[in-house]
Subunit: 140 residues, 4 copies
């Protein structure tokens, strides 16, 4: 089971007028079993002390897994539904951008599980790690 190899421009065009645009999230690479995206660390994703908001990281994890699951299913007949998301925040970032890589660790008929790691692009330091559980439901 491999991710459909569509262009990142296509994926990003679907994110116009959504939370992804609001937070500046951009898909940059689609592999056979992974997907990568970047997110800026600026006023769009800061908390009040000027650091990356942990909720921005969680939103990035949920985005990565959801985008990836769309590329694993027959989108005409099925839809991915996020069921559970979790994240450990491991380090602080105040500026620049972060890179997230989501790896599919379970691609079942009914559920997908994504392992997502996020790094500070300036230092390559791991700053967040989490998972997204997606349920695949038939379109009614």
């Amino acid at each position: 089971m491999k991710l459909k190899q569509v262009s990142v421009e296509l994926v990003n065009s679907m994110n116009k007028g959504t939370l992804m645009e609001q937070l500046g999230i951009e898909c940059i690479e689609i592999g056979g079993d992974y997907i990568k995206a970047t997110m800026p660390v600026d006023n769009r994703t800061h908390q009040p002390m000027g650091l990356l908001h942990g909720g921005a990281s969680a939103a990035l994890i949920e985005t990565i897994g959801s985008m990836g699951s769309v590329l694993l299913i027959d989108i005409e007949k099925e839809a991915p539904v996020g069921v559970e998301v979790n994240a450990n925040h491991l380090g602080a970032v105040s500026s620049g951008s972060v890179l997230a890589k989501g790896l599919i660790v379970h691609a079942g008929k009914r559920t997908h599980v994504w392992q997502v790691d996020i790094w500070d692009q300036a230092t390559d330091k791991l700053i967040c790690t989490g998972r997204l559980t997606v349920m695949i439901v038939p379109r009614s």
Copy 2:
């Protein structure tokens, strides 16, 4: 241990120029052991299918707990650091707004744990439930 009873205007003024402004999150009530906020369901918080993005709910949970922990500590001497966030998505919302209530379930010297529930304001249906673990660290 009770949350400092400051005005919601003060809390919201600290959220200017941050993710909270970007997603339209507003604190609306501060109680002795809880804090409430609202978030719009519109292009700022949608995923591509026009539903509330699960990552917006996760960001709301992280926001609620972080705002609450600031009101439980001596902010001159200590800082709250989000350690782990998790959320179960229970239902879909396509428009209007959601209401989140964060209840402090553990207010220790070193950690706080917040239980956060999110309801669709139009139907009062529970659409998300999660927790945030916060570590309290001395300012250096």
Copy 3:
């Protein structure tokens, strides 16, 4: 949607020869939307320092939700499958027993979500809180 009101003796008889017997977990009450169980804090559930092992609490959460989901479905036609479990450990216990209450917070056609809290029975102090996500799958 209500839990089938069977006897706790019946539930406990199904737990013979399983992890539940090994850890001393016993179902003590079944309500319309909740289920309760107890677990001893002794050599069966201790970690090396003589405190309740956090893994015992996690196992109790998974047990409570799984037992509860069995009572919400048509067990001839469907089976509950644990998908995700999580827990925050809030306090230490060294002896006696703990009481867990699992409340169903989402009883969908495809998924159940249980909110489970665990208290020290000697002090009534909340020592753990967590959730279990269960997927309901048709029997093949």
Copy 4:
């Protein structure tokens, strides 16, 4: 920061008279940044349908991380406290044994985060993945 290279016999001797003995968990290898353990899949760890109980997997994750953190700190002056544990169950096992590997992904002064994966030893299939957050507290 590396795990102390003690013998697995020493680690296992500390687990006598605890949940680890009850569930048959045995440490089998200690590396510089990881630790491995096995657990039987039999009446000690089954749920009523004869499959590995998800709670046994969660207990194994909590055990792995806790054992590992003990080997990363000065145990005379500090103690590890499990804060949060989570797990996704990815597949069923009915007999034999499982192998768990815990990798330290964050070894901070105040917190450790362990990424733990569990495989069916007969098939090498990944059956569970999760994390444990540990707080390091000074002994009083």
